[in-house]
Subunit: 490 residues, 2 copies
């Protein structure tokens, strides 16, 4: 009768059938919002709605109970008030449910009575062979099934980051930001109160999941830190784990306690543990996405020697400062590289690393200079500033508002030239990364993307483009550290 | 015959007439690109083109010399090779030119001979009563004159930040990023090699310029640090000065020396000087824009007590951590505030600061809770996370791609509800800031804006919206520090 955690997590992310218990015709109820989110994103399994009142909702018949459906149900999502949840477990058991997501709040995070109710719920579920996600969770996402079983209206982008978050609001907004910035996810779970399934269970599943290349964790506190450590130490040899540890200060700890019933613990102990297990610590929420995306899209460098190339001098100065502060080696240019670059660039170019392209307008020459640096064995990792998406960076548009009649064509031509030139530059970056297996980090304005199929076809979504040199330097340092870690463990 | 620096800078930013010397019909030459940029943005003065060959370019007649124009010319922009620049000074003098922008490179930044040529140029210009900007500059921007006299195709947004940059590429890209993010500028100058007019001159002008509310500097090294210090100490009592000091590390110093002929100097000495003069140090290029924009759009807080309000718990935890690390006081909620909030929020809300809105969907209630906090004298500054631009944050759209026929209306309704709700929330933030003179910092996805007049009408462009809690915490700390500084100087 007992269901192993891994079998339950597998059902959670790959349900052939699922049901929403507490389905409602009321637009403002989660029992309506959650199934409408599931339908919108085109869940590939079979979705059933359950409510004792029956009827029709969202074009689907409403079943009076799970067992009435007459089919084995892999996953249920329970949207009814806390005190009623336990009452539906027998029905779940009869329908063969393996795992239930309990989105209801009012359990251990809110009061001692809630905590008792939660403990009894776990006991009752275990006795019936049902594993639990949450309670107090915002749900899950699973890309291979186009399953967006979430409370907020977020529409995640499919990709290769698996994300377990101890905050639904933070986690789901990050999914939305990822959609905005071309960052995709394989799986997402808001762990909630972790009354049953916990971080260690999800981590173990992600480790063996082929859809997942990088694992991302937002953690206030672990229930089983030893188990997580043990798993992570093994997983990080194969897949990177990026982790953000919240709740380090007194103000944060107080907030975390009331938020997810997590004891935040000592930040120093956690950080030591994280490093020891080879996990990558994101120091900011921005780094959570930046690091995860970089590890999906770029190879890990074989060494630590960095070349910087920038369209204009200032960005090179700033980036060189930043990289040196991050402990990266901005190494001198070999003489043959200087000669090759001198054949392309005006006589007054910088003749050093960073390579200053001194504002030259020919973008094919930018690409050629990048290639010279990338091809040379003296460099393991590159940062390119200013060229990528230059049209977007300068706020250029093909349809100027105020151009005089004589000038209009000139601007359209120039804007198109820059746009096409930076697109070819992006293609070159991708080609070099693939051919040489060296990371090339770019700094510029991201192209805008709302799932526009025209933009989706561009190489930009397969590149890492950062809006400022600080983000690029931090990502470079992270990649170098990841390479060092992998070499240190052979 | 001699022109005072301030008179020259005034002519630079307010030229009733200007000429481009070296105008060209060749699309790839700066002598074509610069005047086409000027024409496109609708310069409000009179533009003349000069080239000994004559003809017609961009629909304008080309004059063979400046004196041939037969009118006093306030400003010239010289786009001819370095060694030819001195040769046009007599013509400039005859036309009564007060100030010349020399964009040509190949002067002191590139070689000892270039340095000698630059010194001779300055001497010759002084003798003729002409002041110089550059050489090796990318030009200027001046909002009241719609004057975009720049080499790159950037289209700055009009606003109230005056920006002097020792890098044209960095400076002009930041103007473009500003356009993207709703950040506007009053004036911009790329200082170039500062052979004549320098940072101190521009700073003095910005101090007395009514269009300018905040001054932004990107500096590799000052020519007259003492004078800058003296000016800044007086200016910062009235107008904030935000400064980014590049070239702190050895790699950065080497890069700066070849870039702008600046001696980067000791970073520690500079930082001490910056603080002593009450300038605000941006530690990252992102902070250059974040801080300047915040100082334009938000009042300075009267004290240091902070309230945090977030749609969901996780963001509150993260922000509380960050603010405490920044030395901000996340003070307890007064009991009457708790009571007022309890009348609105579900019983399981956090009952502390940060205020966790526990995911409630009614956005009018978010606005009401924000108002309760803002209205109370216990708080001097507020951060709101998750509510602003929630539709954008979640990647919502009015036209879902895959909605089933029955679901389509539901999504349009919900998306519109969220969009309208967050717009009303934005209006409320503005109203509270105006009425109470307390800064309210928001975290969310910015609305997209390409100068679309519909979006320009929204309140979002008048708010500070940061894409992550780290930026919000840094801005809050900066504003609190600014308030402390002003109070300390009475």
């Amino acid at each position: 009768m007992s269901v192993e955690a891994q079998e339950a997590v597998d059902a959670l992310f790959n349900p052939r059938s699922m049901a929403v218990v507490g389905a409602s015709a009321n637009l403002a109820k989660w029992g309506h919002i959650v199934p409408s989110n599931i339908l919108r994103d085109g869940y590939r399994g079979r979705l059933y709605l359950v409510n004792p009142r029956g009827g029709n909702i969202l074009g689907l018949p409403v079943h009076r109970s799970l067992s009435e459906i007459g089919e084995r149900i892999d996953l249920v999502m329970i949207t009814i008030p806390a005190e009623m949840v336990r009452g539906v477990l027998d029905d779940c058991a009869r329908a063969g449910v393996k795992v239930a997501i309990v989105i209801s709040g009012g359990f251990s995070e809110s009061s001692p009575e809630g905590k008792r109710m939660e403990e009894e719920l776990v006991k009752a579920a275990r006795a019936r062979g049902i594993r639990l996600v949450g309670p107090n969770t915002m749900g899950i996402y699973s890309a291979p099934w186009s399953l967006t079983a979430l409370m907020p209206p977020v529409r995640p982008r499919a990709g290769h980051i698996a994300f377990a978050a101890q905050s639904g609001n933070l986690g789901t907004q990050m999914l939305g930001w990822g959609s905005h910035w071309g960052i995709g996810f394989s799986r997402f779970v808001c762990v909630g109160n972790e009354c049953d399934l916990d971080f260690a269970d999800y981590l173990e599943y992600f480790a063996n999941d082929e859809e997942t290349w990088v694992i991302l964790l937002y953690v206030e506190g672990f229930k089983r830190p030893r188990r997580v450590l043990e798993l992570a130490r093994e997983i990080t040899l194969r897949k990177p784990i990026v982790i953000y540890k919240a709740g380090g200060t007194e103000a944060g700890k107080r907030a975390a306690a009331s938020h997810s019933a997590a004891m935040a613990g000592s930040q120093e102990i956690y950080k030591g543990m994280i490093r020891q297990a080879g996990m990558i610590l994101a120091e900011t929420t921005e780094e959570m996405l930046d690091f995860s995306d970089a590890l999906v899209k770029m190879p890990v460098p074989r060494g630590e020697r960095l070349a910087i190339i920038s369209w204009g001098g200032g960005w090179g100065v700033v980036e060189a400062d930043l990289c040196e502060r991050q402990g990266l080696e901005v190494v001198p240019l070999p003489s043959e590289v200087k000669e090759e670059l001198s054949a392309i660039l005006p006589s007054y170019w910088s003749k050093g690393n960073p390579v200053d392209l001194v504002g030259i307008v020919n973008l094919e020459q930018h690409a050629r200079c990048l290639e010279i640096l990338a091809d040379h064995p003296a460099f393991d990792i590159l940062i390119s500033l200013g060229t990528i998406n230059a049209a977007a960076a300068f706020g250029m548009s093909d349809s100027p508002v105020q151009a005089p009649p004589e000038g209009r064509d000139v601007f359209a031509v120039r804007s198109r030239y820059v746009r096409e030139g930076t697109n070819r530059f992006a293609e070159k970056v991708l080609e070099l990364m693939n051919r040489l297996e060296k990371p090339i980090i770019t700094v510029g304005m991201p192209q805008r993307d709302d799932g526009d199929s025209e933009l989706d076809g561009l190489p930009h979504n397969r590149l890492c483009i950062y809006t400022n040199p600080e983000r690029a330097a931090r990502v470079a340092a992270m990649l170098v550290e990841r390479g060092r870690y992998l070499r240190s463990r052979g």
